[in-house]
Symmetry: C2
Subunit: 481 residues, 2 copies
Amino acid sequence: MIKMGVFLYINKPKYLACFLQLLLAFGKKGVILLSNINSLFNAKSVAILGASTNPKKLGHVIFKNIIEGGYSGKVYPVSKKGGHCLGYEIYTSLKEIKESPELLVVVVPSNQVVQAIEEAGECGVKAAIIISGGFRESNNEELEKSLLETAKKHLIRILGPNCQGLTYTPNDLCASWPIINKKGNIAIISQSGTVAAEIGLQAVKDGLGVSGIVSLGNKSDVGELDLIEFFNEDANTRSIALYIEGVSGGEGFIEVVKKTNPHKPVIILKPGRTKEAQKASMSHTKSIAGKSEVFDGLCKQYGFVNVKNVTELYDYSKGFSCLKKVGGKNVLIVTSSGGSGILATDECSEAGLNLMSLQQEIEEKIKAGLGQHCSVKNPIDLTGDATAAIYEQVVKDSAEDPNVDIILVIFGDPLEDVGNAMIRLDQKIKDKLVICFLGGGELQEIETHKMHGAGIPVFPSPERAVSFIKKLVEYSEFYRG
Amino acid sequence: MIKMGVFLYINKPKYLACFLQLLLAFGKKGVILLSNINSLFNAKSVAILGASTNPKKLGHVIFKNIIEGGYSGKVYPVSKKGGHCLGYEIYTSLKEIKESPELLVVVVPSNQVVQAIEEAGECGVKAAIIISGGFRESNNEELEKSLLETAKKHLIRILGPNCQGLTYTPNDLCASWPIINKKGNIAIISQSGTVAAEIGLQAVKDGLGVSGIVSLGNKSDVGELDLIEFFNEDANTRSIALYIEGVSGGEGFIEVVKKTNPHKPVIILKPGRTKEAQKASMSHTKSIAGKSEVFDGLCKQYGFVNVKNVTELYDYSKGFSCLKKVGGKNVLIVTSSGGSGILATDECSEAGLNLMSLQQEIEEKIKAGLGQHCSVKNPIDLTGDATAAIYEQVVKDSAEDPNVDIILVIFGDPLEDVGNAMIRLDQKIKDKLVICFLGGGELQEIETHKMHGAGIPVFPSPERAVSFIKKLVEYSEFYRG
């Protein structure tokens, strides 16, 4: 475990003194291994071992996704069958490549993987993504041990094996599937390729994009701790979504959490709340789930956002990639849809949020600008008359009340141009905005994308918006307190 | 209240004796009023009063949606300004129209509505949809009373006022907005235009479509009870989604429920669980929410599906439009995504469902057809090797175990052709299928549409799939017991 501790520390610039000490103690090896984790993300060249001409094979899909994802570094497909694919000549072995590929993606059968890493070491490869399965998860503990030893010998950092690859949009690198290349600020680290893909695809569909997606697989070498550290320092990342079935070393986990506190919001989905799921988890990734209560307690103690399901994982990752802190729990609702306002009111009350009353003079100012049939009590109901301009004015006026911590703006119709109306608001007001948009059809999608592009979070239903607000308030309280 | 009771009874063919008695007692008036509710849905001609040439006005949008929605009856735009619009000549008054339009859509200011209904009566109009607001919800109780009296005098049934119109796809009629014209089996009745539109739009996006969408507005005449009755008899409707803030007459409600029991699944979202929301509800539709516990109790007693939010309203309406009853609570999970299987396992256990073990010989049969690294214990993990054919075979084999009540099939990748694989299964197996599809990108949408077209419900996350399964089991128990 000391290896992990070491690299966690020296990965952060502020631990420079520590870094130098370690350098003296461990020599060049430590430094190289540290830089090699960076090669997973920022590699300037990639070789794909097992690249295939058959479009149904993963070795083809990943090769294709790297190219179509817009990667600008050098790409070397390798397969002993040779041939041509997607305009590239396929190398028949790694050794044929004249330069050293910085990163290697491995998609060959498990019994060929150790040999591949041996060759990769000889070729100067710095990091490898092992897609291939058939290791620890298939009870081949020995094979995985041998893989790790070979990698260590050559100072190669390993992602996987048995993983779904890695995407890092700042480097336009999509060594994974399905293809996701929209740049954004959410990083996803996952022990389930499917959960990672789902969160990533939702983020793309919503116009948000991702900074990175990393499928952990068996976590033979690189684990969630290394990756939390990486994304914590990564300027492109504003929130980190994490799906894990077991934690690599409880103490290490706490250390990372302590050091990175106050950190970027880390949203964790960890199943295994029930005995049945713990059993299934053992068979999936050989993860020992541990006691759910202990983990919950740790998250609470250190300000990690602990979630129960995929919807929450996505919603909170989205929300926290836009907003990190609010001043308190006073919520004002502004809506064009009376019904949605009432639904949000129920949710806010049940969530322990305070449905505040506006200062009287502000209320009167708002009232003067609206039709008689509109309600200016919280929730402010602009009714079907609402336009982008009316929303803009009402939100601006409301924000003058210093007691307003969060403004939940609900768009309940195909409302034109409301995105720009919200984007035009002062940043100070935007920092209090949570949007809910429903019943808006195509316009809803267009306006949602605009707002997401400007860092304003938009949720598709009152309950999902309020659920995020509740977590935002809890999280803010933690880091204020 | 007797009016309502009367028409509820005679709306059902099996109450023919009762119908005849009532005919004797009330004469022709009762029969006409009854048939007039049908005119809201099945009108052979429609006039739009307040049709506008300005694309931003509702009077234009609704006129356009009626035409673009594919309505094949006669359409008469009416506006005192006259002119031409969308290839139609605009009549300057209702009286100019030579035939009697069966249905009238009213989009003029509230102070012109009573006069409009007076004229409509003289023209032989049978039913009217009053979009216009400015009645009871704006404290103009008298105006609404006057509207209702005028309508009654002319035997015109009224939907609204202050509503978002009506859509009925079997008649290709979309007198509402946004435009929704995909035929399906979900009926939506809502006191919130936005909630109705949201559920409808989701159903369209998911490839399901709707049978009808009715926005209740102020429920001056036609209320949710009339509409539940209508859709209960409607061959195109398999589940009914209902959003209401207050119930029109508690006793009437119970009567309808009793009579229609066992009925089509009715899924009800009724906010007002908290005091704050009850207050907001008063100002929205002047609905008195009533005690939440009483309503919850009624739903439980009579087998209505009571939900808490928009997501559940849509998910359950979708699910119940496909499946109505299962034999018990034994769930088998079949997945390609280990992580999703574990998440579903947690959810099933927490929901009190039974994660059954397959009979040993069936388990062995399945095992023989799979790779060694696959797990055949529940959840059955087919791993990334899974194909449509493997899924089909495993589901087929599993269904041979008579103890299996529900098979939760999780597709956790861009899996090709899995829709057809599920559709090919025997109907008896399909009746046990609940699908979860995530992380599948474009293929997910394509395959989901296929399955929805064949009446197999598909959910986008394990928690949402299991949440429906839980309700399905509860509902089935109620109607079995």
